[in-house]
């Protein structure tokens, strides 16, 4: 467990250093995610060694957003009297983006025969 956790943190560290030193518009953890995916694909033993820890953390991924969510409650005044407009903008755009994105995916998958088997 300790080794798996160290590997995860090291990967994030490498991602952070790469993102900052190369001035990339992607956060370090996402670069780390890409790097570890490649690592897992090339060394299957590594994937199985990290699996229990990764599953443990991902099993409670929602919990990790709670502190940032509480910050929203204290900062609602940042909406500056545009609360209704911004709420509507977020609600409608999220509904549209999910619907249109998912339908596009399914349509293109059907057209190109990219079935999920």
């Amino acid at each position: 467990m300790l080794n798996a956790l160290t590997l995860i943190l090291c990967t994030q560290l490498v991602g952070e250093v790469a993102a900052r030193s190369l001035g990339l518009p992607v956060p370090g953890p996402i670069l780390g995610m890409v790097a570890l995916t490649i690592g897992f694909a090339t060394v299957p033993k590594l994937r199985e060694a990290v699996r229990p820890v990764a599953q443990g953390i991902l099993g409670h991924l929602s919990l990790l957003f709670v502190p940032a969510g509480v910050g929203v409650i204290g900062n609602l005044q940042a909406l500056q009297g545009m609360g209704l407009a911004l709420t509507l903008a977020i609600l409608v755009s999220t509904v549209l983006a999910i619907a249109v994105g998912a339908v596009t995916f399914a349509l293109v998958a059907r057209l190109t025969g990219a079935r999920d088997d």
């Binding site: 995860i8 991602g15 518009p25 992607v26 956060p27 370090g28 953890p29 996402i30 780390g32 995610m33 890409v34 790097a35 570890l36 995916t37 897992f40 694909a41 994937r47 990290v50 820890v53 990764a54 953390i57 991902l58 991924l61 929602s62 919990l63 990790l64 957003f65 709670v66 502190p67 940032a68 969510g69 509480v70 910050g71 929203v72 409650i73 204290g74 900062n75 940042a78 909406l79 407009a85 911004l86 903008a89 977020i90 409608v92 755009s93 999220t94 549209l96 983006a97 999910i98 249109v100 994105g101 998912a102 339908v103 596009t104 995916f105 399914a106 293109v108 190109t112 990219a114 079935r115």
Partner: protein
């Protein structure tokens, strides 16, 4: 006998109290979520946030004090993002077979999220700084904040809008996609990850592992695409 106020002032200095409260509030939220047969409206994050927000308000606790305890939970967001490599690697052959649908849904989903949000706010008379803060709201928080700042937006407002977008996506995704009768877990997960980043991905992981993997991929790809497209799309609404 020690005064209650003394115990309170001791506890409110350290991280223990608010770290415990964060886990307990999420535990309550998760219990409610299970009690209503996992109805998406009873989103555990939403319930925990409302409970904790009320508690902070009642006790007059500033957010900075709360965050001293909550930071340990918040910190794990980075390592958890790295851990998304696991569902991605598990589904790599599946991802390879879906490159075209992924590219198409990414472009369409990302552009739809930005233009529709900007058009609505613009119609309500939002100024340029507000529009710049809103444009990248579907990207993961650190990326969105960086993009908004670069375009003259306000980081605090962007952070609020990003979280609200995530919670909205997590709550509406399942009923919306059921209504559309889409059964492809890849399509469902990917669209949610593109539109509502990590909070949507957390929701997708609860629903199905394939949806979770595609949501993680959608979140990562849209972080990059939003950084590239946001200034261009914003240009249509401000001059």
């Amino acid at each position: 006998m020690t005064d209650v106020a003394q115990i309170w002032s001791y506890l409110s200095q350290g991280p223990l109290l608010w770290l415990t409260a964060t886990l307990a509030a999420y535990g309550i939220g998760d219990a409610c979520f299970r009690a209503v047969n996992r109805a998406p409206v009873a989103n555990p994050v939403l319930i925990a946030v409302v409970l904790l927000g009320g508690l902070l308000w009642l006790t007059g606790t500033p957010y900075a004090t709360y965050f001293e305890g909550a930071q340990f939970v918040h910190f794990l967001l980075g390592p958890a993002t790295v851990c998304l490599a696991l569902p991605l690697a598990d589904n790599l052959p599946r991802l390879r077979r879906a490159l075209l649908p992924v590219a198409a849904a990414l472009l369409v989903g990302s552009v739809t999220a930005m233009t529709s949000a900007l058009a609505i706010a613009w119609a309500f008379g939002a100024d340029a700084a507000l529009l710049a803060s809103l444009a990248p709201k579907s990207a993961t928080a650190p990326v969105a904040i960086g993009i908004a700042e670069g375009m003259g937006g306000q980081p605090t407002l962007t952070a609020v809008l990003v979280i609200l977008t995530g919670i909205t996506g997590a709550v509406i995704a399942t009923p919306l996609l059921n209504l559309l009768r889409l059964k492809d877990w890849r399509a469902r997960g990917f669209a949610v990850g593109v539109a509502s980043h990590g909070i949507g991905t957390a929701r997708a992981l609860q629903v199905h592992p394939v949806a979770g993997a595609f949501a993680g991929l959608g979140m990562a790809l849209n972080a990059v695409l939003t950084a590239l497209l946001a200034p261009f799309v914003l240009g249509f609404f401000v001059n």
